[in-house]
């Protein structure tokens, strides 16, 4: 399993088999709900390479990236503050847990009422869902900092800035990254849901419209695109994590 060949080929086998199976079983089928994959693929090329990218993909990606970025800044910032103040963190924990399990989609009607159906509303909804995994993981990571490092920082009289940005946050970064990964999945879901209810552009809107007009191959192509985007974002995040946390991986060996 350790050769690069095996690491790249083995995970690719099952997707290839599934795609081939889908391709051949759907070919010449009569169900209008499950159009042939060849037809979906044709539509996909026409629509997403790259005719409709500016109109539908760019706004969706913008919502996700802004939502995720704001969640990271807020989540890490608040998480460090709360994590360094143990009593406060304990005091607010029940509220945080409540907010975490309150599905952010449930806030959609209220958000539309208050903010309207613009990009701000969609970013807000994403932040309301994606913030919690990052925030809670940051608090955990910060509270778990080794007492030895606290002693080192105190006896070396580190400045607060160095203490927070060069010790506390790096030390908590493995947990922070785990939080960001969970938040990314939440962001994709909320991007989609918010576009279903309040948008005139975006992949979610496109998929809903295609379904309403009974253009099922288009609808399928949108769904596949959504999957590919989610997967690609995760790959990018894993790559960043791979380099940022190289020390963590190697130090444990």
């Amino acid at each position: 399993m350790s050769s690069p060949f095996a690491r790249l080929i083995v995970p690719a086998l099952l997707p290839i088999v599934l795609i081939l199976a889908w391709w051949y079983t759907s070919e010449g089928g009569s169900s209008i709900f499950f159009p042939p994959l060849s037809q979906i693929q044709e539509r996909f090329q026409e629509l997403w390479l790259f005719a409709l990218v500016p109109e539908h993909v760019v706004p969706s990606l913008q919502s996700i990236l802004w939502g995720l970025w704001i969640s990271i800044v807020l989540g890490v910032g608040l998480g460090v503050l709360l994590g360094l103040n143990g009593y406060v963190a304990t005091a607010v924990n029940p509220v945080l847990q409540f907010l975490r399990y309150l599905p952010a989609v449930a806030l959609l009607p209220l958000a539309i009422q208050l903010i309207g159906i613009g990009q701000e509303m969609r970013v807000t909804i994403i932040v309301l869902g994606a913030l919690w995994p990052i925030l809670l993981n940051t608090i955990d990571g910060v509270r778990g900092i080794s007492p030895g490092l606290i002693d080192v920082a105190r006896s070396n009289r580190l400045r607060n800035f160095d203490w927070i940005f060069r010790v506390v946050i790096p030390s908590a970064s493995p947990q922070i990254f785990a939080g960001i990964r969970a938040s990314l999945a939440v962001s994709v879901i909320l991007m989609f849901a918010s576009e279903l209810l309040g948008a005139s552009r975006g992949i979610g809107y496109f998929i809903l419209e295609a379904q309403r007009q009974f253009s099922l191959p288009e609808m399928w192509s949108g769904m596949i695109l959504l999957g590919i985007i989610g997967y690609a974002l995760n790959v990018v995040l894993m790559a960043i994590e791979y380099f940022a946390l190289a020390w963590h991986r190697k130090a444990r060996i």
Partner: protein, 261 residues
């Protein structure tokens, strides 16, 4: 001789309890400029508590710690601590050079000065070429050298060391002991080293403070008149060395704390 000068580090009647349990009772001693003082006592005698008090990482219930005659309440710039657990005292996400530089950031130094300090500190501990390594790429002994370099880089007057060589092998330990003697000789820094190893205490110290009892107090202050130049083989075979070692050993064996310690 030393009596007329203010000691660099002085513990005055330090007592400390955790709840009902008293750990330190009236501990007093002093360390003069450039002096190598070893505090020895069996494990569980409150050595770590004393060390935390000396470095103001912990507070005493009564008594005070003075640096250059001034009572301290917070970790002072003149004192640096080298901890026992080197693997948890270096930042694994920073290269060695950055680790050493970290405490320097609070001082107004130009980048060039900072680099010079780091280079000098690394040279002081014999790791000139390790600047770009990560701590986890190094052996335990090398990591402890980095921790020592980090302490030296901001030029403290006093180095407080908590069982610094407890988790390295015997040969590395001997090397590090000689390194500390060398650093004291070259930089004139005062070293207070806490250990449970009597042999190490006598080999390194100009003065050995024997802690014993529960709660712990200073049962003896033993001068070590072996001169400042020591050698792992010849010093350790000198009759006066062996005599001192046996004497301190006997003191610790007689104390009640050794039974459960």
């Amino acid at each position: 001789m030393q009596a007329t000068k203010t000691p660099v580090l002085e513990a005055v009647n330090i007592s400390k309890s955790y709840g009902e349990k008293q750990v330190l009772a009236d501990v007093s001693f002093s360390a003069g400029e450039g002096e190598f003082v070893c505090i020895v006592g069996p494990s569980g005698t409150g050595k770590t508590t004393l060390l935390r008090t000396l470095s103001a990482l912990g507070t005493a219930n009564s008594g005070e710690v003075r640096v250059n005659g001034m009572a301290i309440t917070r970790p002072p710039a003149e004192v640096s601590v080298v901890f026992q657990d080197y693997s948890r005292s270096l930042m694994p996400w920073m290269r060695v050079g950055k680790n050493i530089e970290l405490p320097l950031r609070r001082y107004k130094l130009s980048p060039a000065e900072r680099t010079t300090r780091v280079t000098e500190a690394l040279r002081d501990v014999g790791l000139e070429h390790a600047k770009d390594l990560y701590p986890w790429e190094m052996s335990g002994g090398m990591q402890q050298r980095v921790a020592i370099a980090r302490s030296l880089a901001y030029r403290p007057q006093v180095l407080i060391m908590d069982e610094p060589f407890a988790s390295v092998d015997a040969q590395t330990r001997a090397d590090l002991e000689d390194l500390m003697l060398d650093i004291r000789a070259r930089l004139g820094v005062t070293i207070v080293l806490v250990t449970h190893d009597i042999e190490e205490a006598v080999y390194l110290g100009d003065k050995v403070i024997v802690l014993s009892g529960r709660p712990a107090s200073v049962s003896a202050t033993v001068d070590v008149p072996l001169g400042r130049t020591r050698d792992q083989i010849s010093t350790k075979s000198r009759p006066d060395y062996l005599e001192l070692r046996a004497k301190i050993h006997a003191m610790i064996m007689q104390s009640p704390s050794s039974v459960s310690g």
